[in-house]
Amino acid sequence: MARMNVAEIKAAVVAEIDRRGDEAVKLAKEILANPEGGFREHKTSRRVAEKFRELGIPFQDGIAITGLKGMLNAESSGPTVGVMGELDSLYVLGHPHADPTTSAAHACGHHAQIGSMVAAGIGLKAAGVLESLSGRVALMAAPAEEYVEIEYRNELRKKGKVEFLGGKPEFIRTGALDDVDIAMMTHTEPPLHGEGKKLAIGATNTGMVAKFVQFQGKAAHAGGHPHLGINALNAANIALMAIHAQRETFRDEDTVRVHPIITRGGASVNSVPADVRMETFVRAKTIDAYLAANRKIDRALRAGAMAVGGSVTITTLPGYIPLNQDRNLQGIYEANAVNLVGSEGVAHMGHRTGSTDMGDVCQIMPAIHPYVIAATGVGHGNDYLVADYELGVKTAGKAMALTVVDLLADGARKAKEVKKSFKAPMTKAEYLAFMRSLVREETFTE
């Protein structure tokens, strides 16, 4: 078949997604019905693998435990563009699609991401498209974007199954992104301020470190001999209060967020709690800001243990890096988004205070993380649902596929430009060294 021009390629891509996009929607809904937490997405991973097989996409699986990477145009020597989706769910009690046993639930819409990734793949596999592109497309399903179950994942870390507790950092570490030059992924989002918005670009996100905290006290009969015990729950309680006492010292522009949970609060009500565990993130807009806040949190945690005469073991683990999307890549995406949903349908987002490991990817390559306004409810809440699969899967898939077309058409001129003008904040080696420098496990008895 003769090489098509860009307009022809794009038309073919869109037509193919219109024709076969329901397959991607179906996959998304299957994943919705089978939610699994991070690094546990075995069923989800198998489903994606089946889909790759059906579509004739060669792939690797078992990357970072459950991740997959399919490759289109594998023989091409041009740049590689990664289109990503996330496999994992959250845990949200009472979500209508929650797993009754594990309470895992897709309350963040990741199932739609796999849908939009596959939709993009379907579009790019339309007849004649890949032959007209000068580069490869990696369809990557990454595990464990939600940085939860810190204690469980820390055990995986100690057993050597992972080194970092997020899926994309593990993709980077294991080399799955070594042959990828540019990356993108679309996240679902409930309606923004301003009506009629369908695709949103430009957000920044906080970065963070994750902490697993164990207060050690001394058990004793809580009624009979409380004076012989050391109350680790009280230590945690003091530490929480001390953490709150720091909040006034956080600058607005740093958007610091510290939000601990207690994962173990004691074993029996009539025994002085001797083993109390907490997990928290320390987030902020910049690396310096979250490291500074983290020092204050450590002080507060130590104070809790000190006050009751107990000890505390603080495990600090590298989390995610603040998201900074590549402007040039975003420009290409925006043009396609406008073509698809009209300029009034494209929103420009500001700073957001969640975190994503796409931030990590953005450190080492040009990447974007646009949002598709296809959900309703509160993110991570029990009412968060993907309401518009046409938009959330198909349109989102089209926008990414068309961006890939722009990047790789015409001898991959635009991909090369984007790559060339990108100033990587860190090399992969620097990134890994930074992440490793954050790991700390210390016990304080003072």
């Binding site: 409380p226 003091i238 006492a245 006034e248 010292t249 130590r302 104070a303 009751v308 005469g309």
Partner: protein
């Protein structure tokens, strides 16, 4: 002369001077002064001593007085003590509008009891029958308050100890005294007129100063170190320790913030707390004190502040002298009826309060009985005299009769009290013990 006749003569003398005696309590009630500031109170007592012809020394331990009345023959010396100081209670009906000082502990009655007893004992027929001496001692500063000012007096060298009896012991004012007593007022919930025996809590006093860093609290809170937050975390932590105190130890932790910031729009950088650690035994106080210190330091650690903790030797638990108490109780029973006497066992902590009579009780036989005659809540704004007869006149008579028992018949009973009592320590040992309890600590939270 028969001892009962002596007692009748003393009572008659007291009755004759009834108004003069009650007037002392009323006069002092109107001029409440806190410890080591009892200038007018001391003048009142001095004038009254002059009126009954008792030569006396003034300005012992700043405001204290001591006059010695000798009997017909030589023998042991029994001290009758009148505490001179008031507490501070806002809103007390007799509080000084400027200082807030108020006799909400009924000390105003004590010098009246002391002088009333002297009136009885100085009836010529009585005095010449006594073998020994009566030391009339107006003692300052039983309430351990105004810690910062007292610490300043200590640091200026004007005080060696920061309570009245402690300081008078140190200065040797009790060196020629063989035993001592005072009668404290109380509000009785029933028909009880006198309570003897029992013990009191001991304590240490904490003077605590958190040092932070001032900054504009609205514009640049991140540049400040909030000493008030440090204190709040510290005090919250102190509260969590309460479950670790054994009921038997009657631990009481309480205090006041005396400086908590200077302007609401400046980060508090100098916050001061005066606290008390009470307990039934020296060991319980030490245990609770160590926990308090740990918690206060944790407050500093949490906020990255500094804290200065001065531990000031407080009071020792009261050791009520049984032989002496027996003599007092017999006389009290004769006046009010035995059924109106309450006798507490030697390990019964009365309330949870403390007195420096406890200190004196470690070096000589001491009793600290309570008379009724007041209504309301001690140290509350409603603690007022109800019945001067019961609060002043009857106690004066019981004290006079007790001393007649002790010092008549060649002071056989007083000598028996002395011979049956083995004080816990000598005066030098006491001074060394208390000086050793003074500790200054400076902790830098980081």
């Amino acid at each position: 002369m028969h001892i009962d006749i002596l007692k009748a003569l003393a009572q008659a003398a007291i009755d004759r001077q009834r108004d003069w005696i009650i007037n002392i309590a009323e006069e002092i009630l109107r001029t409440p002064e806190t410890g080591f500031n009892e200038i007018r109170t001391s003048q009142v007592i001095s004038r009254r001593l002059d009126e009954i012809g008792v030569r006396h020394t003034q300005n012992i331990a700043i405001t204290g007085l001591k006059g010695v009345v000798r009997g017909g023959n030589s023998g042991p010396t029994v001290a009758v003590i009148g505490e001179m100081d008031s507490v501070r209670v806002l809103g007390h009906p007799h509080s000084d509008p400027v200082t807030g000082a108020a006799h909400a502990c009924g000390h105003n009655c004590q010098p009246a009891v002391m002088l009333g007893a002297a009136v009885g004992l100085m009836a010529p027929e009585v005095l010449r029958e006594l073998s020994g001496a009566i030391a009339l001692m107006g003692v300052p500063a039983e309430e351990f308050i105004d810690v910062e000012q007292r610490l300043a007096l200590y640091r200026q060298g004007r005080l060696g100890f920061m309570s009245g009896k402690q300081e008078m012991i140190r200065l040797g004012a009790f060196d020629d005294v063989d035993m001592a007593l005072l009668v404290h007022t109380s509000a009785s919930p029933d028909d009880t007129r006198f309570t003897v025996g029992g013990t009191s809590n001991g304590h240490v006093v904490k003077y605590v100063k958190y040092i932070g860093k001032a900054s504009h609290a609205g514009v640049a809170p991140h540049l400040g170190v909030n000493a008030l937050q440090a204190a709040m975390v510290g005090l919250h932590a102190v509260n969590t320790q309460r479950e670790t105190f054994r009921d038997d130890d009657v631990v009481r932790l309480h205090g006041i913030l005396t400086t908590a910031g200077v302007s609401t729009n400046s980060t508090p950088a100098d916050v001061r707390y005066e606290g008390r650690v009470r307990g039934a035994t020296v060991e319980a106080i030490a245990d609770a004190g160590a926990k308090v210190d740990r918690c206060l330091k944790a407050g500093a650690l949490a906020l990255g502040a500094k804290v200065e903790i001065v531990t000031i030797p407080g009071y020792l638990p009261m050791l009520s002298n049984d032989p002496l108490a027996t003599v007092f109780a017999e006389n009290a029973g004769r006046l009010v009826g035995k059924s109106r006497l309450a006798w507490l066992s030697s390990d019964a902590v009365r309330g949870g309060g403390s007195t420096d009579m406890g200190d004196l009780s470690h070096i000589m036989p001491v009793i600290h009985p309570y008379s009724s005659g007041f209504a309301g809540n001690g140290h509350g704004d409603d603690y007022v005299v109800q019945d001067y007869e019961q609060a002043v006149i009857t106690p004066a008579k019981v004290v006079a009769m007790t001393l007649i028992d002790l010092l008549s018949e060649n002071a056989a009973k007083a000598r028996e009290v002395v011979s049956r009592t083995r004080p816990r320590m000598t005066r030098p040992q006491y001074i060394a013990l208390q000086q050793g309890r003074l500790k200054e600590e400076y902790y830098v939270g980081q």
